[in-house]
Subunit: 217 residues, 2 copies
């Protein structure tokens, strides 16, 4: 695999996350959520350079940490400054998506190598409407996941030219005039936001363990 | 509670659901998904008149069944023809949402009584983009759940005037010029669409049982 830099966004200064321990540090299947995210990249791309943007004292060795910002974009910006300049591709991943599979990471990497950018998306299940009123055609919309992976020069250029905050790197890169390539995400790659998501994630992990057991018999 | 009619949409003729046994008839916690949906309404509104639109031979006694249509709207239309004409409110619920709580049903009923219509909505967790390209502001969108509850005359009028198929009754009623009132839905009120949703639903049920156990000690 070509040289891959990975930015794992694990929360800002607390302004965004609230006063309590952010979700990405809580235990899931006996391991912090953040550690699951890191390990998925270690498995998918053992040679990758991983930078974790976070504001708490937290040991991420053998990987590097950088300071989380007051906004998500500031966190990514800090990580870009820390990351080696010889990475060909850069992946940005939410720490709160611990169930990303190495298969998905590899798929997005391969597509980004070919196309310059790639992001995983999944169809929406519920009907969608505007807060202000009016239905939206669900089939014209997609839910966007991470990792979002870009050619390094494109992502760096986008962050150099923009000072706005984006909740989503693809949106920023697209605003710079680049085309974003979509790839099939995974329903299991959920973003942990509420207590119910922890239970769901535990169930998915338990199911993973059962499947491994069956396949090794 | 004022007289409530409940339409539970449990699948059409199979064109929509595919050849295999539709999800709403599979077992969840030892009980068919459809039965969970029916029981939620029995608990929330014991006096309600419940009609299940379905195309399979399936015993829904003491409730009434009507034929499922080739489209969702046709199923609702058939159920409206079967439902007594003295219902003041009519609730339409997807059978594939078995984890709806009696509390949510009561909340939507109360609001529909006051406002003429009410539907449960939840915020979106993932970033959203258009299939055709371009980001959408997630904060301007909402995911729509069921039950959707309407004053009977409004829902009947909407179905009399329209011949189109709608995946969502609120959209139809809104197209007729009526205002839809939004109420807070529940993250647990998921729509079962894929195998992973069954696992998630089982987890939520297991958690319910644990909570009940603790509270009755």
């Amino acid at each position: 695999m070509n040289r891959l830099g990975v930015i794992i966004v694990a929360g800002g200064t607390g302004a965004r996350m609230g006063a309590k321990l952010p979700k990405q540090f809580l235990l899931l299947g006996g391991k912090p959520v953040l550690k699951w995210s890191i390990e998925a990249f270690e498995n998918a791309a053992p040679q990758a350079e991983i930078i974790v943007a976070l504001s708490r004292e937290w040991d991420v060795s053998p990987h590097k940490a950088c300071a989380g910002g007051t906004t998500r974009s500031e966190s990514v910006r800090n990580a870009l400054a820390t990351l080696s300049t010889d990475c060909e591709l850069i992946a940005v991943h939410d720490a709160a998506r611990p169930l990303v599979t190495p298969q998905l990471i590899k798929r997005v990497v391969q597509l980004a190598l070919k196309k310059g950018s790639a992001i995983p998306v999944v169809p929406l299940v519920d009907s969608i409407r505007r807060v202000e009123g009016g239905a939206e055609d669900r089939d014209t919309l997609l839910a966007v996941q991470t990792p979002q992976i870009f050619r390094a020069d494109i992502l760096r250029e986008a962050y150099e030219k923009s000072t706005e905050n984006y909740s989503d790197d693809a949106t920023l890169v697209e605003a710079m005039g680049y085309k974003i390539t979509l790839c099939e995400g995974e329903r299991r790659n959920i973003k942990i936001t509420e207590p119910i998501d922890f239970q769901i994630a535990e169930t998915i992990l338990k199911n993973d363990r059962n499947q491994v057991q069956i396949s090794t018999r």
